[in-house]
């Protein structure tokens, strides 16, 4: 099966652009699996947060998936296009990474 991930990319302050990546997948694989495949096979500079990979314990992989806020590790890949974008109400850092750390755990320059 093939999924197309349409991913909003760019740095804070840049006009966002959407890039499309096709990934082969097996039934049951997650959107996070798809993003990791994109980094391994197409573009290692793609930025997204994740730590625990599969357990939904770290809660870092939250993003906008087809317009809904959700975890990339629990939403499954589907055939056709899936649109991915950074969280809309958080400051953008790059690609799908937003500023989600509690304010007193950030370093300010």
């Amino acid at each position: 099966m093939k999924a197309v991930l349409a991913i909003q990319r760019g740095m804070s302050g840049e006009p966002p652009r959407v890039e499309r990546f096709e990934v082969s997948f097996e039934a049951g694989q997650s959107v996070l699996d798809g993003l990791r495949i994109v980094r391994q096979q197409a573009d290692p500079s793609l930025a997204f947060r994740f730590s625990c990979i599969n357990a939904n314990a770290c809660k870092e992989c939250m993003m906008l998936i087809d317009g809904d806020v959700d975890y990339a590790c629990t939403v499954r890949l589907k055939e056709g296009v899936t649109a991915l974008a950074p969280l809309p109400k958080k400051a953008l850092i790059r690609d799908l990474v937003t500023e989600i750390a509690p304010p007193d755990e950030r370093l300010r320059f």
Binding site: S45, N54, V97, I100
Partner: protein, 575 residues
Amino acid sequence: MSSSENNAAIDQPMHLETDVLVIGSGAAGMYAALEAARAGASVILAERSLIGRGGATVMAQMTVAAALAEQTPDHWEHHLSDTLAAGRGLCDEGLAALLCEDGPRRLREMDDWKVGWAREDGHIKQAQAPGHDRPRCAYVDFLSTGPAVSRALRSRLNSAGAVRRIGELLIVEIMVRDGEACGATALHLTTGRAVTLAAKAVVIATGGLTGLYRRNSASSNMVGDGYALALRAGAELIDMEFVQFFPIGHLAPRLVGMDPIMWDPFRYKLGGKLLNAEMREFETDYVDQDSRSDGRYVLTRDLATYAITKEVEAGRGSPAGGAYLSFQHVPEAEMRSAFGPVVDRLAANGIDLTSRPVEVAPIAHYHMGGIRVDAMLQTRVAGLYACGEAVGGANGANRLSGNAITEAFVFGARAGRNAAQRALQACSHWEPQAARPALDLLRSADRRDAPNLAAIVVELKALMADGVGPFRTADKLRAAAQAIARLKTEIGQSPVSSATSFDTVLVDWLDLRNMLLVAQSVTLAALARTESRGAHQREDHPALDETWSVNQLVSLSGGQLHLGRSSPSRRRTLP
């Protein structure tokens, strides 16, 4: 990034000063930070991910072993004798005794901090886990031990004024001057800026190395970076060949949103039958090899891994290449009472345990080896401490279920307090020159054409799983060593970069620099140990050899790894 932008981000590093720098914010790092602050030191807690979210703690699901004597009479000496037996002659007995003796105090402290240990009839409930002689393992329902521990410690940290928590800070190098640790150089991931940290004591709490393996139960950032930092700072590593494979990691069908090691607690509570392709229970076939097994769910992890692998090799594996785990004999009501909402999460994954078994197979889970420390949790580099899974020695050749979180609490608290006591008496050895080599390394990053580093990480994990996995031979280990050397050449001497902020390519390069050094250390020690013991199984040397009742030490000098030996540290007997 133009080279001038790059230089600006690196040439004007932010500089921070503290008494104690703690690297890593799993249970060990958070406990170390709390205890160092309690002893009166200022503390920076640095975490490459978000505070309390990465590492292994948050992934833990169930058991935390300590002789609380709540469920049944117990004494820490009994816990120690089980720990030493599982370690098969290689435990550092002083560290193991510290773990067992101090464990109950820390579990009760966590209870005071509202971790929420499961209770029954007014007492903390303790489950029986393999290798323990009695019910000894506390837990938080349902499968929530790790998140509950993280939450309780995070909430303590929020109210500990002396601890400055900094997430998204990747430590690149620990600075040593005049033989003493004096701070670290780091990369701030979100801005791409360099940060220098002056500290009078440094505590490594970065966890283990299971992220070096294809199938593992770790967070993505458990790639042995603390071991590499320690080696380059001049510390020694011990027992690097002992990687624990958790026998019943989830294999099929695909399960999302749950930890692959979740079936262990199911077995503690509900039994559960491990079946081969003939639907026959086979664990008992392997029991006679372990004098501590009595036919219940007590087959220690090394033996269960062996049993499943041998069944697969004999053509009796499940379709996906593991074993079946069946709970079909358990009534649905009992399952729901034991696991409540987890049953619904399984249903969302299309898994109904009452109607069919799942498939499981060994998965890299924990590393018994690690940084060599003394009784003060200090390395041979003055002022450099380690705690938690990053420490080697306490568990010898095989770790008991339940000892990992306990050692995180106990060693974390001890290392934090010892580091603080040292820091409060010492003057700073920091000088800016100490950071220069690490800053030069970061400055040399460029956007050259390079192989896809994310793909190289995958390649390394595959070759470690296939060549340096649970069952080893000299030929496979030599081939793995050659492949690791080739990957070292492929990544080159200077970092690759791709962006000014959240530079995933630069992080992969810095990780690979560490991972390859650590992979080399594991392979070197595994090749030298020509026997089978605990988690290190050599198919070309299948028996335990008493002459190998020694620990192997790895050190780095002149850019080369060196292997040494020492006798296991025995407990001092009281007069």
